[in-house]
Symmetry: D2
């Protein structure tokens, strides 16, 4: 089978680099186009980007010439968007209109009624709404737009999925978020070395509204939000990668910690075998002091969410890799779902 | 006025050093005795202890000869205990029986019915229970035992005090605790560099039971616990000093954030002017990203609690210096209260 | 005595804040003017600046209105310059020509032949060259320009001063520099958390040329550089404040470590009692694992240099506070020297 | 071919875990025995050890029963020793005498005249001295003892190897060493968070004597040390893994930086294709700010040494993974060399 051509929008930044890393040796996708700002366009990628990851820059990307973020310059079937939100707002619809399948990590269109906000393990059926999106927006090119959630949302929403059967009423989440979530220049070292910043602009608003859409129901026409509330307190910590979250979940059926654990352990996302879906989407740790970002963020190649300390309350900890499962890896898994569903 | 003679039990450890620092140039107390384990006894303090604080070792302490943790060897009116819990359990009663006023930072007797668990700004009247303690235990020497709370408890309990009038029903707290709380050898660097440990042994149990005693009522005979619940999730972070806490407080009267802020701003602990009581016990920060441990832990010489981000929910952040306000400084303030109340 | 009026140029940045902190309650200087970029000018300082220091913003500064970096807008006798090098290059001469005594931390004019590069403990006599400066440049207003060295230079050059009598031939220095040296936004956390960056742009060049001027001889007309070489390797480390330096010093007389130590201990800078000159300019530590930035950077209110591990080689470690002794404190001490010498 | 049976001595500690990780799926060796202290012996490895690595504990190790560090209990052809130096001193000779090939990371016998101190890329011919070792010690069982250097030594000695032809006269090295080099409990977080410790007990002595043996000549009977001096200054930094070293190398032929670079680039260790020898033993980085531990330590699966900033002096930076190339990986490569040379 010929591979599907894949482009990356915003290819030089921290998440753009994670897309390139995640697409390396991908069995279904072949990296064919790297788009970035005018400053980078025209240069070889190895000259345009300063590679910040612990892995090496893949050779195929290094030699590619960067193009502008313009549908006419990008040669791809699917584009992965690591654009900043304002730029995403301007151009992602153009890409979709021009016939690209767009898998976006940006926040711009997550809450648009006709745009699916996907965690494949949670709501693969929401992908179908792109048909309505294409109709409504008059796109006949086959293009469409999908999004993945905010990095902090993804971790605990995946952990909440198997608990939906207990009747979730309210969720409280205190996050301890890695600096990579803010991009390479996002957090000065003088701000965070040996320190905590108990505020991340705009984060709590996203965390408090996205889960209900993700865990909502698609009735064939629209997504009906799940009926629970989320109250968040988001904090930046001196950790490179891996968001750790402390949760309180109030449920109608008041399950015991053992029942919660059992529900998580037996969780089957019904995804089958996608190339980057981890063997276990949810890992439940029994050690009293886990999960920890340093030790657990790379489980399932960074795609597994680790849960621990399930206690009465119900309280638990969940942790995942914010720039893999919480960003680039999320969109790549979304694109794999598109292939599985025949949309790519 | 002659100064009151003060000793430190467990003088070589991290909290013991904070006691010595806090007693330097104290207007009411004079450091007269340093007690530590057999290994240290008989040595000059400057040889027995490796000083770990950013300030310099006070000269008067440096030249003192360390004695054993034995009432017969300690020359003092009041002793400050920085002993580990098990040793505190063994010897603190002996010191009280022998006539010492004991101001303990250890956890051993905090929850004993006849031992006051003091935050002077919250429950100075609880100190009177030492009369009952002396009677009940048959101590005629004038000695007695007082304690200060766990470091994590102190921060938010002080912040809860002015909210009691709104009818606190339940509290949820997620802590991000500094490594100094575990003592000098407590947290290996390999465990915490660039990492989060979502567990601190025994901590949540203390945090969930101490506040109700502190904010309870002394009826002349016994302390009646305040009637609310606390649910805690405690986490270690790579910060040297300063515990940051995210709180949700559910109150019967459902005050607005503005009402909560006003209650905190107008909070008067009724302490008068004790030597180390800060000008403001509670500082309310208006900046969206404060308090932060690095920037705010030294307010009020480490004795002020800083609060910020008071939002609907009611949610807020509180932060304080864990080895000053949360340990040595707490006991020294307790001893100042004893002087004010005529017990010393 | 009326205090001397002092202004700060570049008052909102990291070093500017250290100037304001250092001038608080200064016995000789009174802060009268704060100058910063157009963006800040016209605002109250408390609104223009985000205060990043652990101390609180001094109240007198908070209420001051920021002015432009323009001699006509600044009301002061002496100005302390924390300007970036390019802006310093443009405006510092204007300030001197307009009659201000300029004490600059910027690199722009350090190596100009008629500008003294001062460490008062090393070369107070170099200050006299400002007379020649005024003549040569035709300044009749009484203004003049002085500079302090690069932060890395200061630490070890002060430690070399008492060794000059042994005939220094060559110096090798490997530095481990704190992030605050690069300014608040200088080092992204993603660059330095748990990492070392073995390069600081332009630093080694400064470190290799400034010491010879500082330790050179003023013959009444010009400064004759000292005759030794410096070879530097500069590295950034995840430390907030405090530059640590490992040195090898090759000397003609080949002194023993004991002789080196003795020379340092008996070093008398001949400064008398200036307000911020530390009781000991050089502290020699005997503990095998000192000095350390966390424990020693605040000695002498941040103005002492701590030396340790003097071994054969001659090798030793020296460490000092880079934004106090290495920046703002250095210029304030220079201004105190001006007063002592009758230039202010 | 049947695999060679491999045991690990000191299997529960930080280096022991790296041995187990390095032996996972090894093409020539099969893990057959895990030995540790009495406290662990008899337990399943997964119960005896707390796994501290970012990778997962290999399943074959998890289920193995730990035995005592006793030749009679260990079932293996080759044993890898991660023992502390004093225990290594006691038992490694017993293992060799009992017929085991011992590949030790411990410091106990590195400088013994008849024990090879190996870096296969530097001195593979030294391995032959084990014949003399066996004779001299009267071992007829086929057992023998080999060692790998101290972690700090390995990095720069490998970088020096291609420079030997220029006539190395003296070397100065300032190291910035990761905390993992001290073992899991070795460095308390309170000692190193945001700090530098300019001292590592015993380290400089090793670094100053091992390179001359490694780069020395084996004349068929004994190893004749290379004739140059090393002067070291060793420092601990808040980095998890990866030792960074700043070097000055004085050479008789006074090569240019370009000649040094060329010598490194053309360096061929003549090892052929051993399973864990990296494609490039020495990587030369051209970027001005590299190598960095976070970005470069995993090159060549942690077995490559990265060099950068080759400047006049000759100065350069070298960096490698201290618990892989500098410890467990070093001994595994030594054992591969034994196989190649027919000793296993």
């Amino acid at each position: 089978m010929a591979k599907i051509k894949a482009g990356v929008l915003g290819a030089t930044g921290a998440v753009g680099q994670r897309f390139i890393e995640g697409l390396k040796d991908h069995p279904w996708f072949e990296l064919t186009s790297l788009a970035a700002s005018e400053r980078s366009a025209g240069k070889k990628y190895s000259e345009a980007a300063r590679w910040r990851l612990e892995s090496e820059m893949p050779e195929n990307a290094a030699d590619m010439t960067v193009v502008n973020v313009n549908p006419k310059e990008v040669d791809a079937d699917v584009v992965f968007s690591a654009l900043p939100s304002d730029e995403a707002k301007r151009v992602e619809l153009d890409f979709a209109a021009a016939g690209f399948a767009v898998a976006s990590n940006a926040g711009a269109y997550r809450m648009a009624a006709d745009v699916p906000l996907l965690i494949p393990e949670c709501n693969q059926e929401h992908l179908e709404i792109v048909k309505i999106q294409q109709e409504k927006r008059g796109w006949s090119t086959g293009g469409f737009l999908t999004t993945n959630p905010n990095c902090t949302t993804i971790m605990f929403t995946l952990a909440l999925k198997p608990l939906m059967k207990f009747g979730i009423k309210s969720v409280q989440v205190a996050s301890m978020q890695a600096v990579s979530g803010a991009g390479y220049e996002g957090v000065p070292s003088m701000a965070i070395l040996g320190n905590i910043i108990p505020y991340i602009g705009g984060e709590e608003e996203k965390v408090e509204t996205e889960p209900q859409k993700i865990l909502g129901t698609f009735d064939g026409q629209k997504i009906i939000d799940a009926d629970f509330t989320v109250s968040a307190s988001c904090h930046r910590v001196p950790v490179m990668d891996g968001h750790t979250e402390a949760l309180w979940v109030c449920m109608a059926e008041d399950p015991t910690p053992e029942e919660v654990k059992k529900a998580m352990l037996s969780f089957d996302p019904g995804l089958g075998d996608l190339p980057t879906s981890p063997k276990k989407a949810l890992i439940v740790k029994d050690e009293p002091d886990r999960p920890q970002p340093r030790l657990d963020r790379n489980r399932g190649n960074g795609m597994s969410i680790s849960v621990g300390r399930i206690r009465s309350g119900i309280r638990f900890i969940c942790m995942g890799h914010n720039t893999v499962r919480g960003a680039a890896g999320a969109s790549i898994l979304n694109a794999e779902l598109m292939v599985k569903k025949g949309l790519l």
